[in-house]
Amino acid sequence: MGKAVEFVGINKYFPGVHVLKDISFSVEEGEVHALLGENGAGKSTILNILHGVYSEYEGDVFLHGKKVAFKNPNDAILNGNISKVHQETMVVEELTVGQNVTLGYQPKKGLFIDFNKMHKEVDAILTELDCRFRSRDIVKTLTAGEKQMLAIAKAIYHHSNIISLDEPTASLTSKETEALFAVIRKLKADGITILYVSHHLEEIFQICDRASIMRDGEYIETLEIKDTTEDELIHAMVGRSVSAVASRLKPSRAADEVVLKVEHLSDNDGKYKDVSFELHKGEILGFYGLVGAGRTEVMRVLAGADRKISGNIIFKGQEIKGNWNSTKALKYGIGMLPEDRKTQGFNKLDTNYNNIAISSLEKYMSGVFTSEAKKLKNAERFFEELDIHPNKPEYLTVNMSGGNQQKVILARWMSTNIDVIIFDEPTKGVDVAAKAEIYRLMEELVEEGKSLIVVSSELPEAMGLSDRLIVMSEGRITKELTDREAFHSDEILNYAIGGN
């Protein structure tokens, strides 16, 4: 077999940064090839070059032995038969599946769109992919997993023989992930080449043939998956050995004192029903459940981001009366690190030190005015303490990598005096090394007497971190497990799918 993709001596510069350093490697035709590396290693950049997002770079890209230089992503799709399925798939929610798949290239009959032909063609592709939804369905009725399939169908519609999947399982349930893998295997059998980017190493072992590893903009090596181990991959990605397994190294600090008590919390739409639990001082309380179990919705109410409909919140023995909002939550001492950092975590126009200072501005005053110098000094302290890279408090937060963005948001809460910190999917999109650091920071926080709630959809993470674990299913708490030594994954999964 020939080479589907070959990179030769690729260099890429952003203002002041050399992001890709002389990258050369190749992908065989018909293989599933993983692209691995920490955040900021250059995976997205090399993919963007491949798919025509960046047309300015040094070096050559060959597809099936032919040199290509795409002007834009459309050029790549139409003339290179190469498509990319994005992390968060880009779809027009109000249109039908067929319209989305064919968008811009609809079959026409005279001046008008030939809808019959469109839906027939798209349905044929959907059948081929074993999808249960049809071409005439409206996209907004689809689940995240189905939207992913839609994006793959679009690639097939354009006769792509190389498809890149960028973190495709990030918002999928385990069942949807299985379905995705089945489709990937099918595509592979049809001779289609897949480039696969993911932080989930177990997925790499399930689905990929080979893996190319990048670190700090450099190409490290390409490994045969069947001849390698998880530790070897991590070592190549990070440059040293790191344990990515969620665990507790220090003894539990959980006390009997109840910091936060929630009673009969319910909303009107049934997203969460009759949720009651207690959070103890110094405890890490885990919340496990499948996507859509209502965990995030409950946490958003506790953090004051959404209105409390019914039920009580009792903070340190004192029932909270009147309107509950995020300003009040901060005053009482509850803060949340949201799951979706990019859209909810920070102001992308602002610097690290301002993003850290925003919740505790009263601490950086000189007289009646805020002091830039004091904000900066506070940020410098946390950059040191949390080991945030690069050590540049004056950089825009949006330019930091995922794990470091998470640390910046954590620094924001550590700058305040809050007692309860809610982590919603704390390591989503965070690379292995940063993951391990975030776990250690959580332990330090409970040492200081803070109480943490950790919402996670990754079972090993939820089990490895929690003192106690609450399992939710379809808006209800189905189980509370109090003995961390007796956590059992089969039992937890069973409660998560609503069994008992």
Partner: protein, 322 residues
């Protein structure tokens, strides 16, 4: 020095563009470079400058206040009526400011409590406030505003600088201090940059938006007072279309229409550039119809420049490496 440049790059560039424009006009007609012309330019920019700095507050939060031209008219009518009836002029000024604050707060109410889209909400109040102005006056102008009121703004300093120019500068300084030196300023940028993140950080988003719309109303009220003082009369048709020039000044000065980005200094230079353009074209006898064409081109060019900035930086970086 470099830090100041990076921080106020846009402002400095707009200022330089203004200077270049001034040089061009001077070459075309040396009379442009006279003290009298300078005074005219600053007098010319006062109303637009005040409206622009006000509307900038709402744009910073990701909103907009289309009703400023109408608030402007109502304030003029209210204060004119007070003065004509013999009220103490300073009391009348306070009433004028209060009217601006109330009308601004009502916009804030629509945008925060009722969660209306700012564009639609203020499009509504634009018509509502204009209607109130017509109903109150019956369409007739309120004239003969006494000098005791007018002199407060119209009086001249040595060199012929009108007091109202000083008033405008003071308003800009206050706006600058609020935006760069107070918690309210940080909250305004935070809400405009990412409302959801601001909310999750414990920022009182509602209060912050109220402040923006009230600031807009208050700045507009000051503009209304200046207009009343210089004309000596008020009418319901005053200020029609003024919001567009105010938005233009803010945009040229680097205010992002998506919110979260913009400074008082930039808006000041944006308004100054528009005033230089307007006065300059009169000095070199450009037909007034053409003035619209040129102003339009400048606005488009300024936004294109903003769009290009990223590309230019990438280009520079590439060539530095090579």
């Amino acid at each position: 020095m470099k830090a100041i440049y990076t921080k106020y790059k846009r402002e400095i560039l707009v200022f330089l563009a203004t200077i270049i424009l001034g040089v061009v006009f001077t070459v075309l007609n040396p009379n442009f470079l006279m003290w009298r012309t300078m005074l005219t330019i600053f007098q010319q920019m006062v109303l637009n400058g005040l409206l622009a700095v006000g509307i900038m507050f709402t744009i910073l939060t990701g909103g907009i206040d289309l009703s400023i031209g109408c608030t402007f008219a109502i304030v003029g009518i209210a204060v004119a009526n007070c003065c004509v009836r013999g009220m103490n002029p300073f009391l009348a000024i306070i009433i004028g400011l209060a009217v601006g604050v109330v009308l601004g707060a009502f916009n804030g109410f629509l945008v925060t409590n009722l969660k209306l889209q700012p564009f639609i909400a203020t499009l509504g109040t634009m018509s509502l406030y204009r209607g109130i102005a017509y109903v109150v006056t019956g369409g007739a102008p309120v004239t003969n505003v006494p000098d005791s009121f007018r002199n407060i703004f119209n009086g001249q300093m040595p060199g012929g600088i009108r007091y109202y120019v000083i008033v405008m500068v003071v308003v800009f300084i206050i706006a600058h201090v609020i935006l760069s030196k107070t918690r309210t300023g940080d909250y305004l940028y935070a809400v405009g940059g990412n409302e959801e993140a601001a909310k999750l950080s414990g920022v009182n988003v509602r209060k912050t938006k109220y402040i923006a719309y009230i600031a807009s109303g208050a700045c507009t009220a000051v503009a209304g007072l200046v207009m009343l003082a210089s004309l000596g009369s008020a009418e319901a048709t005053a200020g029609i279309g003024y919001e567009t020039n105010a938005i233009a000044a803010a945009a040229i000065g680097g205010t992002s229409m998506a919110g979260g980005r913009g400074t008082a200094l930039g808006t000041f230079f944006g308004a100054l550039l528009l005033a230089v353009l307007k006065v300059g074209m009169v000095v070199i006898n450009v037909d007034s119809f053409w003035q619209y064409v040129v102003t339009g081109l400048i606005i488009v060019a300024a936004s294109y420049f903003e769009f290009m900035k990223g590309d230019l930086a990438a280009f520079a970086a590439r060539h530095k490496k090579a």
